[in-house]
């Protein structure tokens, strides 16, 4: 019997504001412990929160980008619980009235398009960090992260496989970076996923879900979900029951396991924070933010297909990150042959970046330099084959395309006289092959091309060479 998998994701995106959501302390990553925790962050007696409008603007941008309802009025609530890295004993979050309601995101899995609905997105503050190592059995508290603004983005349980879940997470990751509201750095915890996973018989009501917390890479997201699905199916098929639980993914062992049950019994006692007025977003503010929205991945994809004539696949790959798309567009602006530009960006550039394990913004070949190379292919200075060698030299810092072509003597031979002289020598030196060819062994043509290329170190203009060979061999 078949099982249907049901997955919903909760993503915490850390917003790229300079200061914290309710205080003026810096949000920069990597400072010495507690160096970026002010009186408000450490919750001294008498301090009060003041909302950072920059964080609200990030939420508005997101809401507009996913076609959601940006609520004119939303409310900050207190989520009460005790933990040493939660200085106030409550987290300021949004509960029944979030800043963003609804919305949707289009994802692509195996070439097919699918719509994932969003439930909501709300603003909240992050907690600090408890450090359990290096304190000789005690716990250290670092409150630098306390009060960092987060946008929690909650999807509907619309995904049906780990692949769809990863595609959704990637699409969201790309979107928040397009919007410039989150740096997307998963290692530093700027983009964290919680996955709600359940299984059911097709057509049956939703099964009991378990929530996998704090997945900080797409690979772990996929592994954790796959393990969890199998565990749930095995449990049910062996007659067991699934109990609602919060689980953690152990990336070393590749398995999920339930957290202590103590943490599940929380009653957070939400109530509206009396220190903060309801958040009011005016129509003017929203219109102003809308006017500054960048072109979003979906629109960009459509433009690449219609204006550049690219395939849906190519358009999808090139727009998967804002930086890659920008690189491509820079190349295509200098060298307006979009298909050739796309091939090189998706082929050589992406391949070499991958191999080197670096991002496009660290690419040693600038968009301008790549365009320079493409121009030399286009104007016949070098062949496509030679271009790959030039590319490698450029990657290794030997300069621009023209420098490499010059210094390595890669210039294509397009001089008819010179080529004719070489062809004459080859015909003279291979009388039996010439006789066989003339007797009808057409396949020998390739032999002559090979000889000519060898003689010119591959620099003969192929089209021209072929024409001369045909003429001379015909006698």
């Amino acid at each position: 019997m078949q099982w249907e998998v049901v997955i919903g994701l909760e993503v915490h995106a850390q917003l790229s504001t300079e200061s914290k959501i309710f205080s003026g302390a810096s949000t920069a990553f990597g400072a010495a412990p507690n160096a970026q925790a002010c009186a408000v962050d450490i919750a001294l007696p008498g301090v009060l929160p003041v909302l950072n409008r920059g964080a609200v603007e990030c939420a508005i941008k997101f809401g507009l980008a996913v076609g959601a309802k940006v609520n004119r009025r939303s409310v900050f609530s207190r989520k009460n619980y005790f933990y040493p890295d939660l200085p106030k004993g409550y987290q300021i979050s949004q509960f029944d009235l979030p800043v963003v309601s609804g919305g949707e995101l289009v994802i692509f899995v195996d070439g097919a398009e699918k719509m994932v609905r969003l439930t909501r997105a709300h603003l909240e503050e992050d907690a600090g960090k408890s450090l359990h190592e290096d304190f000789h059995g005690k716990t250290g508290i670092d409150l630098n992260r306390a009060g960092t603004p987060l946008l929690e983005i909650v999807s509907e349980p619309d995904m049906r496989s780990s692949l769809e879940a990863v595609a959704y997470a990637k699409e969201l990751h790309s979107l928040v970076r397009y919007l410039d509201i989150c740096d997307g750095n998963m290692q530093e915890g700027s983009f964290r996923c919680d996955a709600n996973v359940s299984v059911r018989r097709p057509g049956a009501p939703l099964g009991t879900r378990r929530e996998i917390k704090n997945l900080n890479s797409f690979r772990f997201l996929q592994q954790a979900i796959e393990y969890e699905i199998q565990w749930q199916i095995d449990t049910l098929e062996s007659g067991g029951k699934i109990h609602q639980a919060t689980v953690l993914f152990d990336s070393d062992k590749g398995e999920t396991r339930a957290m202590r049950s103590k943490e599940e019994a929380h009653d957070y006692r939400y109530f509206p924070d009396p220190d903060l007025l309801p958040l009011e977003i005016s129509g003017e503010w929203m219109a102003e933010v809308r006017s500054r929205l960048p072109e979003l991945p979906q629109a960009k994809r459509a433009r690449y297909i219609s204006a550049f004539g690219l395939s849906a696949y190519d358009a999808g790959v090139l727009t998967s990150s804002k930086e890659l798309a920008a690189y491509f567009e820079e190349v295509a602006e200098i060298y307006p042959e979009p298909k050739a530009c796309a091939n090189w960006v998706m082929g050589e550039i992406s391949g070499w970046l991958n191999k080197a394990g670096i991002d496009i913004h660290d690419c040693p070949i600038s968009s301008r330099a790549l365009a320079g190379l493409l121009i030399r292919i286009g104007d016949g200075t070098i062949s496509g084959k030679i271009a790959k060698e030039v590319f490698e030299a450029m990657w290794n810092g030997e300069g621009g395309a023209d420098d490499v072509i010059e210094s390595r003597g890669f210039k294509q031979i397009s001089d008819t006289g010179a080529l004719e002289k070489i062809v004459d020598e080859i015909i003279e030196g291979n009388p039996s092959q010439v006789a066989d060819y003339r007797a009808g062994r057409d396949k020998l043509f390739a032999f002559f091309v090979g000889q000519a290329m060898k003689a010119t170190k591959g620099q003969a203009n192929p089209a021209q060479l072929s024409e001369i060979l045909k003429k001379k061999l015909a006698g």
Binding site: A39, P45, G46, V50, N80, P87, Y90, D275
Partner: protein
């Protein structure tokens, strides 16, 4: 000098008849003499106070004095003051030296005023008698067997005993007005949002409001001019143009419409208080005011509503006192949960714990709608009673407290009896309105009685005018306890 108004002290200082150092020393001497029996101050620090006094004298000599420069004020120990131990009346903060100034303290400092010391109070402002303070009860200067009221009981006793020219207080359910009434002084709780709560240790955020406590309405006006003002660090602070609260003090009262709510003269009001308050109202009629009947039918709900909302907010506001970063931490614990439990069990007193438990209960899953949401709805009804009344009158008058000061220990075992002593003051906080209390006479037991004046939003100048006109023709506010 001890009975001088702020205006008179200001004149003495600017006329070089005295210096801030002399003035401060005189009051410190009086505190040293009287505090052992009254326990009005938790912290007195001669060096700090005198350093401020010397700085004030320098300003005065340089001709840079403002009206309150050089005048010493007692500060309720709920206001964080840089480098001062700020306890909020609790063992929990017995070791807390504030690294920053509350907005109110900044204002006094910027005016060149002197901090005379931190006054005793009910623990975390939870109480109506000052008996919940970790630092012991304050005694009423009019009768040392009696409580001074609370929670700003230390400030009220300090001003009544003339240990300070004036003091600050905070009022969540009557904590300025009730002790002012019980100690025979004047106090005003401004409209919610006028005085910044930044640095004022939170009890119930949506109700807490700081205000002045002094000997007269005129002094209150001078202090309000300093304390009121927008502060971007408090999101509930109101951004309004400056107003001079003393501008209308001398206006005649002819035509003033005084609303008398029948609910404030019902069962539970002592005959002494009723007599004194009615006399005061008759006096106002002589001054040209007319009396109109108004009704506040939801007054009876204000205590249950308050004792849902205030503990709910308090239970959350006091969660930060966990022994982790500052404040009291139990010396004994074996794990995190025990550290929390022991630190909070030992650091908080019984009343605070009671309210944390009530607040936690009413916010709990399954009870929230029945208590918290319901109380918020009723809060709006209570506020509506007032807005309807103010269509017919300019101010509302009635008793501040149902009785004169009770004896220390008298209500110790019965929290509900204690809560009922705030029956006339709590609704004002729930509505966010300004309210004040001025002395209007004495009970048969010789203990003071206060007249409560409630105004519409932002009508503080009018209320001070009403109080000042009464004080111009009476001398209740000038009477001093013989200690």
């Amino acid at each position: 000098m001890f009975n001088s108004s702020l205006k008179e002290l200001s004149a003495l200082l600017s006329g070089r008849k005295t210096s801030s150092v002399e003035l401060t020393q005189e009051f410190l001497k009086r505190i040293d003499a009287k505090n052992p029996e009254l326990n009005a101050f938790i912290t007195v620090d001669h060096d700090k106070s005198l350093a401020q006094a010397r700085a004030a004298d320098t300003l005065i000599s340089a001709g840079k004095a403002q009206p309150l420069t050089g005048i010493p004020f007692a500060q309720k120990d709920i206001f964080c003051a840089k480098d001062w131990i700020t306890t909020c009346g609790s063992r929990m903060l017995s070791n807390f030296v504030s690294p920053y100034d509350a907005h109110v303290i900044e204002r006094f400092n910027a005016a060149g005023a002197v901090n005379l010391g931190k006054t005793n109070m009910d623990e975390f402002a939870m109480g109506s008698s000052n008996e919940t303070s970790h630092y012991g009860p304050v005694r009423n200067p009019w009768d040392k067997k009696a409580v001074p009221g609370g929670s700003s009981g230390g400030s009220a006793a300090a001003v009544a005993a003339r240990m300070a020219p004036a003091a600050t207080g905070t009022d969540t359910g009557g904590s300025i007005r009730q002790p002012a009434a019980l100690c025979g002084i004047s106090g005003i709780k401004p409209t919610y949002g006028l005085v910044s709560r930044y640095g004022m240790i939170a009890f119930a955020s949506s109700l807490d409001q700081g205000g002045p406590m002094a000997k007269s309405a005129e002094d209150l006006a001078w202090m309000l001019n300093l304390m009121v003002g927008f502060d971007a660090r408090d999101s509930t602070s109101l951004d309004r143009p400056f107003e001079d609260y003393s501008r209308d003090l001398d206006l005649p009262l002819a035509g003033l419409r005084i609303g008398i709510p029948s609910e404030y003269f019902a069962q539970g009001l002592s005959s002494d208080v009723e007599r004194v308050v009615l006399e005061a109202i008759r006096f106002y009629e002589k001054l040209g005011a007319t009396v109109v009947d108004v009704s506040l039918p939801n007054t009876k709900l204000s205590i249950p509503v308050y004792y849902v909302l205030a503990p709910a907010e308090a239970s959350s506001n006091l969660s930060r006192y966990d022994g982790v970063r500052y404040g009291y931490r139990s010396p004994e614990y074996s794990d995190l949960t025990e550290m929390y439990e022991n630190s909070r069990a030992e650091g908080f007193g019984a009343e605070v714990k009671r309210r944390i438990m009530v607040g936690t209960y009413v916010l709990s899953h399954g009870y929230y709608d029945a208590y918290y949401i319901q109380a918020q709805k009723l809060r709006r009804l209570i506020a509506r009673d007032f807005s309807e009344s103010f269509e017919k009158c300019d101010v509302i008058m009635g008793p501040t407290s149902p009785s004169t000061a009770f004896d220390i220990g008298e209500k110790g075992d019965d929290p509900v009896q204690m809560y009922l002593s705030d029956i006339y003051t709590i609704a004002v906080n729930l509505a966010g309105l300004p309210g004040m209390s001025i002395p209007a006479g004495f009970g048969a037991n010789g203990r003071p009685i206060g007249l409560q004046i409630i105004g519409n939003y932002f009508s503080e100048a009018k209320m001070l005018n009403v109080a000042h006109q009464y004080q111009k023709s009476t001398d209740w506010h000038r009477q001093m306890p013989s200690i």
